[in-house]
């Protein structure tokens, strides 16, 4: 190789090295904050180094051969065709390397799938959270506490991500990785996750916890974690689930156990107030205001902010016969959904107040002229 060529290649290598150093974030797998994520990270690094060493040996031999055994240097080709000894060696050594890798991998997998406590008994969980995937949001149920809520993409990200929004994503904090209601869990607690989905398959993934698990309609999958460090951890849906697959992030706030207890008490208070609201008579104005809010977070993704929909998958609400007809039919559709389409059964998803408000809003917007108010109590009676 000519000197100039060597200089050029060294320049390229130098440039690559500096650009990699500059981009400190995200070159490698994250170590994470759980026992499991650290085990995965350790194995990732171990295997990566083994691959690098093998690569150096194999590619090294190839490069030596390319430079030394070339015709232009007058190399004469030998004519050997095989060597049983060499072939046995390079069959056995890889097998041994694989065994060495498989041992820690087996151990880590057992920790994940069949966790045990220090005494070797099946691990006890202090908290169970049911995670349900919907197109395109997450629902969290705290099984022991009886509280639940939806978690959707934060409003500022949602505005910026619309095509032609004119908003620079760089100006949005945690663009596409922020939600309205984060999952809140206590630190240093064994937490069990039960994962399922309502429509299509989703996957719940927070890289710092070290695993992802599919949320499958009709299945309940199990996973667990125990986060050591309080903080905010972000992730995303990891299984293609339709048009807004890229827009259903996950945010988990891990609090100290005291802070978590305080948060829990507050949540229970709020949900009790909401329950009372269902039975009171709402004014048209109250319903419209609440309805616009609910419509824009829950419905507008498909039916669009102006109610025009996206035919044929997502019907228009503007001028729709159903929306301008008998309210009972519309309530029924919203409560129970339409199987085989993206229209979910919102009865399990939203409060009666939110459903009543959103329906009222659609009946009195986009040029629709039903001009009536659907009360939360009506929705409640139809749900039973």
């Amino acid at each position: 190789m000519k000197k100039a060529q060597i200089k050029f290649m060294m320049l390229i290598a130098g440039l690559l090295a500096t650009s990699m150093a500059a981009a400190e974030y995200g070159l490698n797998l994250r170590k994470g904050v759980t026992e499991f994520s650290e085990a995965a990270y350790g194995m990732h690094m171990f295997t990566l180094w083994i691959c690098i060493v093998i690569g150096v040996v194999v590619f090294g031999a190839m490069i030596v051969s390319i430079f030394a055994h070339r015709k232009s240097k007058g190399a004469q080709a030998e004519q050997f065709t095989h060597s049983t000894k060499a072939e046995v060696i390079w069959t056995i050594i890889p097998i041994l390397i694989l065994v060495v890798i498989a041992i820690p991998a087996t151990r880590a997998l057992i920790t994940m799938e069949n966790p045990t406590d220090d005494a070797g008994k099946r691990m006890q969980f202090d908290l169970t959270i049911k995670v349900t995937g919907y197109q395109w949001k997450w629902k969290y149920d705290y099984m022991e506490e009886g509280i639940s809520f939806l978690s959707t993409l934060a409003k500022d990200s949602n505005l910026a991500r619309q095509k032609g929004s004119g908003i620079d994503p760089a100006t949005v904090e945690n663009y596409l990785l922020d939600v309205d209601n984060p999952l809140v869990i206590p630190a240093n607690t064994n937490i069990r996750f039960l994962l399922t989905a309502d429509d299509v398959i989703h996957a719940w993934w927070v890289p710092d916890f070290g695993w992802k698990r599919d949320a499958i309609p009709g299945f309940i999958n199990e996973a667990w974690t125990n986060v050591k460090t309080p903080g905010t951890y972000r992730g995303q849906c990891a299984e293609l689930c339709g048009k807004d697959h890229g827009f259903m992030p996950i945010v988990v706030e891990v609090l100290s156990q005291e802070d978590y207890a305080a948060w829990l008490a507050e949540q229970k208070g709020t949900q009790a107030v909401e329950a009372e609201m269902v039975d009171k008579e709402w004014t048209q104005a109250e319903l419209m205001a609440q309805g616009e809010e609910v419509y824009n977070t829950q419905c507008a993704t498909c039916h669009q902010a102006d109610g025009t929909g996206m035919e044929p998958a997502f019907p228009a609400l503007a001028g729709s016969e159903l929306v301008n007809g008998d309210p009972a039919a519309q309530i029924d559709l919203v409560l129970n959904g339409k199987p085989g389409t993206a229209m979910q059964a919102f009865g399990n998803l939203l409060s009666e107040s939110d459903i009543a408000a959103a329906i009222t809003y659609t009946r009195n917007s986009f040029g629709n002229t039903a001009a009536d108010a659907v009360q939360p109590a009506t929705v409640k009676s139809m749900k039973q």
Partner: protein, 541 residues
């Protein structure tokens, strides 16, 4: 066979004039000639490569920077889905069938494929299959957008494109199965009388094994998509949990097809590389017999590892351990192949014409894809890698710098034999360096994106991923352009250029190099014995 032939016909049978059928329809639509059908396959595959590549350009354009600038998310999903279907079934597989058609008869001393009319049919199904599939792009609701893996329930939300998708897949399957039957019948029955199985070139061996894989798994895929069809239109509940079905069952069936499928796309590539490296190292292939056994071992293992695509679906511990161990074992025969290629180069007398350059890049870059494959075999770490850009990087290393590079290497290697002209070596080398640099700029940063936590199949991403995505897009555009340049090189070679000799390459061995360039329309018509010393692997011991 020749008993009934009249003197008149025998007179026509001389090599000095090809008597190709006259007229476009007779020559191309009605052809039963393996060389013409091979050409049709190769042209079709390249057209699909450009079509699927154009979709990749749309994807990389949208991912050039964060935010949605060009397409809506649903169209983006249509692009990722169609890109994969077209590249897998329309570009890579037909290209290898094209190479098989052209080369297998000439490599084993056969006059043609065993079943020439079926050969015609298996090609001419393909344009219809892809016309059906592509027509969905112009329908209400658009093309399939549930990913090429077609997982229910998502894919069933696709409206009527489901039916078009299913029937297109059926047609592709029929075409592949017929092609595979033809390859097997040819290799088993049409070898020159003195050519034994262990005299066959490795390309023939890898294709024989690939053909068995095709026959085994294409019907499985057909069954899976048929169940999708009945779930969509006839109220069955194979995959519908609400009706007592099981959405994960589809994934098991799909990957029982899908894993052998990835070897269908790489084993013939191993064969091409195993032909090219000995030629330019001027040295016999190292460990021919172990290469054959390694290919067979990989094919066998490919049937028993499918659920490593599904480590996150929630399988029992025992199943996860089994699929992890079985998958890791694939590294052993694959390693044997790589070591044997390096040993073939060792103490050879190498020159670096374009086919050799692409083959050397194949060995290094495919091995890098193999390394990330071993990493992903580890179930506990795969729970991090799964469905991120790390896997996108992995399968593009094995499919683009693996399968596609092997096809390009094969095209340069045999183009003088097909066209009778040498390609321009300088242009070939430019094409090589341009492709190899840009493809690494395109795919290498995707490893980092995946490790940093970017999921695959998303049209927009968090700003922390912006820098590497921009690199990747720039690499993508450059790589795409390089393949347009490749069209120019091939076109120029077909139209004219330095006349190629029969042997073409100084170190070339194999029966295909004993016939003139361009290869006459009919070769090896006498069914007689051939000179084994001329074969690539002559006498194996």
């Amino acid at each position: 066979m020749s008993h009934d032939i009249t003197h008149d016909e025998i007179a026509h049978d001389h090599h000095d004039h090809d008597h190709k059928p006259k007229g476009f329809v007779k020559r191309w639509l009605m052809t039963t000639n393996h060389k013409d059908i091979g050409t049709l396959y190769l042209i079709f595959a390249f057209a699909m490569f450009i079509f699927g590549g154009a979709m990749a350009m749309v994807i990389r354009l949208e991912l050039f920077q964060p935010g949605l600038q060009f397409v809506e998310p649903d169209f983006f999903n249509q692009m990722t889905t169609m890109h994969a279907l077209i590249m897998v079934f329309g570009a890579v597989m037909p290209a290898f069938v094209g190479l098989a058609n052209w080369m297998i008869p000439m490599m084993i001393g056969a006059p043609d494929m065993a079943l020439p009319r079926m050969n015609n049919w298996s090609f001419w199904i393909l344009p219809f299959a892809f016309a059906i599939l592509s027509s969905t792009l112009f329908m209400d609701g658009g093309a399939p957008a549930g990913g090429w893996t077609m997982y229910p329930p998502l894919v069933l939300q696709g409206g009527h494109n489901v039916a078009y998708l299913v029937f297109a897949v059926h047609l592709m399957g029929i075409s592949s199965i017929m092609g595979a039957i033809n390859v097997i019948a040819t290799i088993m029955n049409m070898r020159a009388p003195n050519v034994g199985y262990l005299n066959m070139p490795l390309f023939v061996w890898t294709w024989l094994i690939t053909a068995f894989l095709l026959i085994a798994v294409m019907p499985v895929l057909a069954g899976a998509v048929t169940m999708l069809l009945t779930d969509r239109y006839f109220d069955t509940s194979f995959f519908n949990a609400a009706g007592g079905g099981d959405p994960v069952l589809f994934q098991h069936i799909f990957w029982f097809f899908g894993h052998p499928e990835v070897y269908i796309m790489i084993l013939p590539a191993f064969g091409v590389i195993s032909e090219i490296i000995p030629t330019f190292a001027r040295k016999p292939l190292f460990g021919y017999v172990s290469m054959v056994y390694a290919t067979a071992a990989i094919a066998f293992l490919s049937f028993i590892v499918w659920a490593h695509h599904m480590f996150s679906v929630g399988m029992p511990l025992g199943a996860e351990l089994y699929f992890m161990y079985a998958t890791m074992m694939i590294a052993v025969p694959t390693g044997v192949k790589v070591f044997n290629w390096v040993a073939t180069m060792w103490k050879g007398s190498m020159t670096f014409e374009t086919p050799m350059l692409f083959s050397l890049a194949f060995v290094i870059l495919f091995t890098i894809g193999g390394f990330s494959g071993v990493m992903m075999a580890l179930a506990p770490v795969d729970l991090q890698y799964h469905d991120t850009y790390f896997i996108v990087a992995h399968f593009h290393y094995v499919l683009v710098t693996g399968a596609v590079f092997a096809i390009i290497a094969g095209a340069y290697y045999w183009l003088p034999k097909w066209s009778g002209h040498m390609y321009n070596e300088r242009l070939g080398k430019i094409h090589f360096w341009w492709s190899t640099i840009s493809v690494n700029v395109l795919f290498f940063p995707q490893h980092f994106l995946g490790l940093a936590g970017m999921p695959r199949r998303i049209p927009d991403y968090s700003t922390q991923f912006a820098e590497f995505n921009m690199w990747s897009s720039i690499g993508g555009f450059a790589f795409g352009l390089a393949q347009v340049f490749f069209i120019y090189i091939v076109w120029k070679t077909v139209r004219g250029g330095e006349k190629a000799t029969a042997e073409v390459w100084e170190g070339a061995k194999g029966l295909e190099w004993t016939v003139p360039s361009p290869a006459p329309y009919h070769t090896f018509e006498d069914f007689g014995p051939v000179d084994l010393d001329k074969m690539a692997h002559g006498k194996t011991h």
